[in-house]
C-alpha cells in the first residue's frame, strides 16, 4: 500500500507562489517562448513604453534602438528615448517589480496595459544571462541623471539594487535601458526590423533610429510633426464589467452608497439610471458598498443587464486618422495605389473601439503571393498568431474577387497588396497576455469588414481601370500582330499585292471607329456556340 500524507504534512508544503516565480516557469505567456521571439518582445516592450511616455508628456518621440551581438547567442539591447524621464524613487519598481505601473488601473487608450512588459524582459534577461538591467534616466536639465543596476528578487517580487549613482548625461531628459539576453536575430517575417518598420507606419509622428546586429543603421523618418491628441481616461461602462471587476471596484471605492458608487465609478450612469439598476437588481440604493456580498453583486450584474444604459462616450478613442495612416503606409510600402478609411467608433461589451484600414496596391509588391497583412492595436504592431486574429478572419471573409484579386475560399487574397488594419480602443481584447491576436468579438469583426469593403471598393475601381487599359493595349497589339498574317493570306488567295493590303490595313487601325472598338469594355462573342451538354460531336475525327 502506498503511504498517504496527512493534511499537516501537505500543509507544510503549501506556500505562496510569487508572481515572479510563476512567470519564470510560464515565460511563453508573456511572449518569451523562444530566443527569436524574446529579442522581439524585449524591444517591443521598451519601445512601447518610450512612445507612451513621450506622448503623455507631449514630446515628439525620438527613439533609438540598438542591438549588439555579443556571441554565444547573447545580445545586448539598448533602447533610448527623449521622453520625460522617470523620477529616481520609481525607477527600481518600474523595471524590477512585476505588475507595477500606472496603466492597469486606468481605462484609457494606450499601448501598454498590465504593467508586466518591461519587467518581464528584465526578468528574462536575468534568467538567461544573470546580468542586471542598466537604467539611465533624467527628468530635466536642472536634475542630474540617475544610473541604476537592478535585479529582480523573484521570491519577493521586489527590486534588488546593485548600483545607484548620479552620472552626467548629455541628454536633457529621457530614459535609456540596457539589458543583455539570450536571443537570436533573423531578418524577415516577425523580425525586429519588420516590427520597427510597422511601428513607423502607425506612428508617423515618431522618429526611430535602428542599428541592427549587422551594424546597419536604418532611420524611420518622422512624417508628421503633430502629436496624436492625448486619449481621455474613462470610467468603465456598466455593460463591460463582470463580478470580479465589481468586487475589486467595491474594495477601492470611497463612495458611501450603492447609488453613488454606480454614479461615480461608471460612465453613463446618472441618478435615474443608478436607481433603475438598483430596482432591477432588487437592491437598496442606500446600501453600503462595504456590506455588499457575492449574492448581492451577482444580482447587481443581472440588474445592469436588464437596464437600458446609453453606449459609452467614444471621444476617448484616438484613431491615427485615415490620412496619417495612409501617409505612414506610403512611407514604408512602395505601391502605385493607396487608400484608407477610419470608421466612426463603435462599442463591444461596453468598451469603445474604432477600426482603421489602409490599403496599398501594386508597385514592387509580388503579384503571385498572398497579400501582406499588417495588424495593429493601439499603434502597436501584432506580428504573431496571424491566423488566430479577428483581423485575419475579417480579411478572409471579405470577397476580394469582387475587387479584381484572386482568392480561394477561406484564404488570404493573392496579389500585389498590403492591408494595414488598426484597432484603437481603451481596452483592446487580446486572446492572450502576450497580446498577439485580437479576440473575435462580432462587433469588432463587423466593423473591420465594413472598413475593408470601403477600401476594397476604391481598390476595385482602380484595379478594373488598370485592367481595362491593359486590355486596350493588348487588343491594339493583337491587330498589329495579325495584320501581316492576314495580308499574306489574302494576297495568296486573291493574287493582290501583299504590300498594298498591308498598308491599307495599317491605315485602318487608326480609324476612329476601330479605335472605339478597342475601348469597348466587353465584346459580344461572334455567335455563341449552343452548348450541347457534354456532347462532343466527334463524328469528324
Amino acid at each position: 500500500m502506498a503511504e498517504h500524507k496527512t493534511a499537516e504534512e501537505m500543509g507544510a508544503q503549501q506556500r505562496e507562489i510569487s508572481v515572479a516565480e510563476f512567470f519564470e516557469r510560464n515565460r511563453h505567456l508573456l511572449g518569451f517562448d523562444n530566443k527569436r521571439k524574446a529579442l522581439l518582445t524585449t524591444i517591443k516592450e521598451a519601445v512601447d513604453n518610450s512612445l507612451d511616455a513621450c506622448e503623455e508628456a507631449g514630446i515628439l518621440p525620438e527613439v533609438s534602438v540598438e542591438v549588439v551581438e555579443m556571441g554565444d547567442d547573447r545580445f545586448r539591447v539598448i533602447v533610448e528615448d527623449n521622453g520625460p524621464g522617470i523620477v529616481r524613487k520609481q525607477i527600481p519598481n518600474i523595471f524590477a517589480k512585476l505588475l507595477y505601473g500606472s496603466k492597469f488601473h486606468t481605462m484609457k487608450q494606450q499601448r501598454g496595459q498590465q504593467g508586466i512588459g518591461i519587467s518581464a524582459a528584465v526578468l528574462y534577461s536575468q534568467l538567461t544571462t544573470a546580468k542586471p538591467v542598466r537604467i539611465t534616466s533624467r527628468i530635466g536639465s536642472k536634475e542630474p541623471a540617475h544610473y541604476f543596476e537592478l535585479h529582480i528578487n523573484t521570491q519577493k517580487n521586489a527590486p534588488e539594487i546593485l548600483a545607484d549613482k548620479e552620472i552626467t548625461w548629455d541628454k536633457e531628459h529621457g530614459t535609456r535601458v540596457e539589458l543583455d539576453l539570450e536571443a537570436s536575430y533573423q531578418k524577415g517575417d516577425q523580425s525586429v526590423d519588420q516590427y520597427l518598420k510597422a511601428t513607423a507606419i502607425v506612428n508617423p509622428h515618431a522618429q526611430i533610429v535602428y542599428v541592427n546586429p549587422k551594424a546597419e543603421q536604418i532611420i524611420f523618418a518622422r512624417v508628421s510633426e503633430k502629436l496624436p491628441p492625448q486619449a481621455k481616461e474613462i470610467k468603465p461602462h456598466p455593460y463591460g464589467v463582470e463580478v470580479g471587476t465589481i468586487v475589486k471596484m467595491l474594495k477601492l471605492t470611497e463612495t458611501r452608497t450603492l447609488q453613488s458608487f454606480l454614479m461615480n465609478e461608471f460612465s453613463r450612469v446618472g441618478g435615474g439610471t443608478a436607481k433603475d439598476i438598483c430596482e432591477n437588481a432588487a437592491l437598496l440604493p442606500t446600501m453600503k458598498p462595504k456590506d455588499m456580498q457575492l449574492p448581492h453583486i451577482e444580482r447587481l450584474v443581472q440588474g445592469i443587464k436588464n437596464t437600458k444604459i446609453i453606449a459609452p462616450p467614444t471621444d476617448c478613442i484616438v484613431p491615427i486618422g485615415s490620412a496619417l495612416l495612409e501617409q505612414g503606409v506610403r512611407k514604408e510600402v512602395n505601391a502605385e495605389f493607396y487608400t484608407s478609411v477610419t470608421r466612426s467608433p463603435d462599442v463591444y461589451r461596453g468598451i469603445p473601439f474604432c477600426i482603421e484600414v489602409a490599403v496599398a496596391f501594386g508597385g514592387q509588391q509580388p503579384g503571385d503571393q498572398p497579400m501582406t497583412l499588417l495588424r495593429f492595436a493601439n499603434r502597436v504592431p501584432l506580428l504573431y498568431q496571424q491566423s488566430a486574429c479577428s483581423v485575419y478572419k475579417a480579411i478572409v471573409q471579405t470577397n476580394w474577387r469582387a475587387y479584381g484579386l484572386q482568392q480561394s475560399q477561406g484564404a488570404l487574397p493573392v496579389g500585389p497588396l498590403t492591408v494595414a488594419v488598426h484597432l484603437a480602443s481603451v481596452w483592446p481584447p487580446f486572446t492572450s497576455e502576450a497580446k498577439e491576436a485580437i479576440a473575435h468579438y462580432p462587433e469588432i469583426i463587423k466593423e473591420m469588414k465594413l472598413a475593408l469593403q470601403e477600401c476594397g471598393r476604391k481598390l476595385g475601381m482602380y484595379v478594373r481601370k488598370k485592367m481595362r487599359i491593359g486590355q486596350q493595349r493588348e487588343r491594339a497589339n493583337i491587330f498589329e500582330k495579325y495584320i501581316p498574317e492576314i495580308a499574306d493570306s489574302i494576297s495568296k488567295l486573291s493574287g493582290e499585292s501583299k504590300d498594298v493590303l498591308l498598308q491599307a490595313l495599317q491605315k485602318m487601325i487608326k480609324k476612329p471607329e476601330i479605335i472605339q472598338q478597342l475601348q469597348m469594355p466587353e465584346q459580344e462573342p461572334e455567335h455563341k456556340q449552343i452548348k450541347l451538354t457534354a456532347v462532343a460531336e466527334t463524328e469528324d475525327s
Binding site: R475, I478, F479, K481, Y482, P484, E485, I486, S489, I490, S491, K492, L493, S494, G495, E496, V500, L501, A504, L505, K507, M508, I509, K511, I514, Q517, L518, M520, Q523, E524, P525, E526, H527, K528, Q529, I530, L532, T533, A534, V535, E537, T538, E539, D540, S541
Partner: protein
Amino acid sequence: MKKAEAELIELGKKLAKDIKSGKNPSIEFQVRGLRNVEFDKKTQKLKLGERQATRTFFNVGHAKKFLQTIEVAKVSKELLEAEKHASLRDVFYMAKRTIPNSNINIVDEQKETDKALEDLELITSFPREQLHVNANKMGSVAGKVIIEDKGDTIDWSKLGSGGWSVPSNVEDILFKKVSAKYVIYMEKAAVWERLHEDKFWDKHDCIIMSSQGQTTRGIRRLLQRLAIEQKMPIFVLTDFDPWGFYIYSVMKFGSISLAHMADVLAIPEVKFLGIRAGDIEKYGLQKHFIKMNEQDTSRLKQLAQYDWFKNNKEWQKEFKMMKDFGAKAEIQALSSRGISFISEKYLPEKIKNKDWIE
C-alpha cells in the same frame, strides 16, 4: 481549275476589295449550332436555317477566328493548286506557327483548324473533301461485297481479321458485286470483332461495319450510298444509353454541327435494331444495369425534346422506359448469356421478328 479553287479565289478578291476601299474585311456565312438548325419534315433530315453570321477582322471577339479561317482557306487553295490531299492533322500543322515577335500562335489545337474548316465548308459551300482535306480512315468493314477503289479491286470478304478501313472520301468507290442483303452498323469495335470471328456476315449474307463511337463522315457517306444505290436496309446496334441513341439520330437525321452536310450524310433508311428497352426484359439484362449519372439523365431529357423525336411515339416509349429504369446497359452485357449469344441468337431473332424501330 476546280470549282472549289475558283470559289476560294473569289473569297480572297472580295476581302481584298473590302480592304482597299477601307472597309473592315468581313465574311458572311450561315450560323451553325442548334439555334439555327431546323428539322425538315419532308426530307426527314436536319437542315441549316437562314441565320447569317458576319465575321470581321477588326473586332476583338472575331479577329483570331477570322485569321484562322483565312489561314485554312489559304492552305486549301495551295492543296488544290498542287493537286494534293491533306489530313485534318496535316492542315493543323500547316497552320500552326507563332506570329513573329509575339507569343501568339495562329492555332494551338487541332480543334481550331477543324472548326475553321467547317466554317470554310459553309462559306464556300464545298464539302471538306472537295477542298482536298480528308479525315483519317476509320472503322472496319466485312461482308459479301466486291468494290473498286482507284483501280484496285477489293473483296470485303477476304481481308483477314482486320477487315477494310473506310477512307474519308468514298465518292469514287464503285460497287462491283454485292450479294449482301443488309448492313449492321455497330457502335462497338469489340462487337464487330465478335461477329467477324463468328463469320456472321457469311452465315447471314450481310455487311458488318463499325467505328469506335460516333460515325465518321466517310462511313456515313458509304452507308448512304449503300442505302440509295443498293437499296439495302441499314441496321444500327448501339449501347442502351442516350449516347447510343444519339449515334442513331446523327446517322438518320444528320448532326447539329454538320447540318449543312445533312443532304450527303443523313440516311433516312437507317433502322434502330438495339439494344432496345424490350431487349432488357426479354434477355434479362437488368442484372448488368449501370446506374445513370447526372449527365446521362440530362442528355436523355434533351433527346426527348428534339423536334425529330418529339412526336415519335416509339422513341418516346424507349426514352420513358430508360428514364424509369434509371439505368443503362452495354451491348456486351449480352455476352453474359454466352460468348456467341449475340451472333447465334440475339441478332437472328431480332431480324426474324422485325424487332426494330424504323
